[in-house]
């Protein structure tokens, strides 16, 4: 069963096209990352799925059927910002959410404990820090232990500990068999927790699929020796290298994933009469990869 199927979704805000025919499918049990820079249409896409925005054209299905409010009751959601009544405390706010979701009130203490808010559960929402607000929103999304969760920038406003805890929570939920749809502009976050990814740019879906296929990153080896010119000339013919680039400090060789062997390179250079004083393997940064993905299809 597909949890979410999006078909040719368009959304215009006046003359601005926020979504230009987006289609993809979220399989059950996946952690599906929607990745894109600010303003790429991530929140618009999720807003349409949650019925707070109206699509200009196109359609989507939840659980393989036409979407209704009952589906939304079964999905835990954190969209954009934590939205709560400022003059109510955490428990009072969660009672409202639980009532709308048709859930019992017994679950409130459990979810507050999960996000470490039980100490402050009787404080007004307006007195919360940004991170606490975000944690309350995560708690609200966990009410009733839903099988599907939608998180829009879930680590927004959290401190490093909060970010790590949220990632752990997402991994734990994934292990428990939940399907998680997560929008983020942080590549590193998507790479760390997602199984699938869709990349959005300016309202267009550039690519989507399994994270290992989309975010594969080339390996780069930095090499330096006393005689850089000689080094460069012997490396031009090095078998298996995709690209050889010379910069101020190093010669950089690019290899397909898993193909770089430092040992072989070292031996090759030595046999050619060059002794190295720097040899280091690094992965192409995700940012570079992301720029590549978003530049190519312009």
């Amino acid at each position: 069963m597909a949890i979410l199927t999006v078909e040719d979704l368009h959304k215009n805000y006046g003359p601005i096209q926020a979504l230009k025919g987006v289609s993809f499918t979220v399989p059950q049990g996946s952690v599906f990352g929607i990745l894109g820079p600010n303003g790429s249409g991530k929140t618009t896409l999720l807003g349409i799925i949650l019925n707070v925005l109206k699509a200009t054209s196109g359609s989507f299905k939840l659980f393989d059927s036409a979407p209704t409010h009952v589906h939304r009751q079964q999905i835990g959601t954190l969209l954009e910002t934590p939205n709560f009544y400022h003059y109510l405390n955490a428990v009072q706010n969660l009672k409202i959410a639980a009532t709308i979701k048709q859930q019992g009130l017994a679950d409130i203490d459990r979810v507050l404990e999960l996000v470490n808010l039980e100490q402050r559960k009787f404080s007004k929402f307006s007195t919360y820090s940004l991170g606490m607000k975000q944690r309350l929103a995560i708690a609200s999304s966990l009410l009733g232990n839903p099988d599907v969760l939608i998180f829009d920038e879930p680590t927004n406003g959290l401190d490093p500990v909060g970010i790590a805890e949220t990632r752990e929570l997402i991994k734990k939920l994934h292990k428990a068999g939940k399907t998680i749809i997560m929008a983020s502009h942080l590549l590193d976050e998507v790479e760390k927790v997602c199984t699938h990814v869709a990349i959005l740019q300016k309202g267009t879906l550039l690519t989507h699929g399994h994270v290992d296929e989309i975010l594969i990153t080339d390996e780069i080896v930095e090499i330096a020796a006393a005689n850089m010119q000689q080094l460069q000339s012997i490396l031009q013919q090095y078998p298996g290298a995709k690209k050889v680039v010379v910069n101020d400090l190093y010669v950089e060789l690019t290899f397909p994933p898993g193909a770089a062997s430092l040992e072989a390179l070292n031996r090759y250079c030595f046999e050619q009469g060059v002794t190295l004083h720097h040899l280091r393997l690094r992965k192409k940064s995700l940012e570079t990869k992301f720029f590549e993905l978003t530049q190519n299809t312009k």
């Binding site: 949650l50 925005l53 409010h69 910002t81 709560f84 409202i96």
Partner: protein, 267 residues
């Protein structure tokens, strides 16, 4: 329907600004009538002015049976307060974005806006109940005539008037979304702009001003005796049946536009 109101209650019961405004409102219904009642006492206690007032007005307005009408009319000047409460409860949702969250959590848009319309109806009913209680109190305080339900129909007209004002407020809140703007437009229209339009249209357009939205319900609850005198001065009597139908049509229109707007807008 019960669940929608129960949820509205959960939102309001711990909201202090609401309770302050609400208590002030109930107190001013009693207070404003008390002021007019005191004026009546002064006029009717002096022999000379009493004679004149009895000639023009008849019995004291705050005595049965006219007390229903008098209290309904005086209280109707305060209907901007429940309007304000209505706007506040809706635009709060917009500024906290909780209307979004309610939908995300699994309400339909219709459920959300219906809960607000039900709240408007409850506000109108409580206002009407307060008017009825106040009328009974002042009726007995005036003490000149015995209790009577004659003229109680004005309390029902007040209910229609209250519903009309509060629904206009709800419409403003849904149209403008921001509290300050909605309150400003609602106040300006209900207290000044429409009155000016009524005067101009009545003067230059064959009394068409009587059919303006809030005027249709205002005109049905005049102060006792006054309307009779005013009507005598005018050349045409208002067609109350047509005005009553117009007020119901307006009420239907407020409902329709509010529902439509909330169901089709992006949030």
């Amino acid at each position: 329907m019960g669940q929608l109101l129960a949820l509205e209650w959960m939102k309001l019961k711990n909201y202090r600004a609401f309770w302050i405004l609400f208590c002030i409102y109930l107190a001013t219904i009693f207070g404003a009538n008390y002021i007019v009642y005191r004026i009546q006492l002064i006029i009717y206690s002096e022999r000379q002015s009493k004679g004149f007032a009895t000639m023009v007005l008849g019995n004291p307005p705050y005595a049965f049976p006219t007390v229903w009408q008098a209290v309904a009319h005086v209280s109707s000047w305060l209907l901007f307060i429940p309007g304000l409460i209505m706007i506040l409860t809706v635009t709060n949702e917009y500024s906290f974005k909780t209307h979004r969250q309610n939908i995300i959590d699994g309400w339909t848009r219709q459920q959300f806006i219906t809960s607000k319309i039900l709240f408007a109806a409850v506000l109108a009913l409580i206002s009407t109940l307060m008017v009825a209680i106040t009328a009974v109190i002042f009726g007995f305080m005036s003490g000149e005539a015995s209790f009577s339900f004659e003229g109680f129909s004005y309390v029902w007209y007040f209910l229609l008037q209250a519903m009309s004002y509060i629904m206009v407020a709800l419409l403003m809140a849904v149209l403008f979304k921001r509290g300050g703007l909605a309150i400003g437009v609602f106040f300006a229209y209900s207290t000044v702009l429409e009155q000016i339009a009524v005067l101009l249209l009545n003067k230059y357009a064959n009394y068409a001003g009587r059919y303006l939205p809030l005027e249709t319900t205002d005109i049905m609850v005049p102060f006792p005796y006054i309307q009779r005198i005013v009507n005598k001065l005018m050349f045409t009597e208002p067609n109350y049946t047509a005005i009553f139908i117009a007020s119901l049509v307006y009420l239907g229109a407020y409902l329709f536009v509010t529902l439509k707007k909330f169901q089709t807008d992006d949030m």
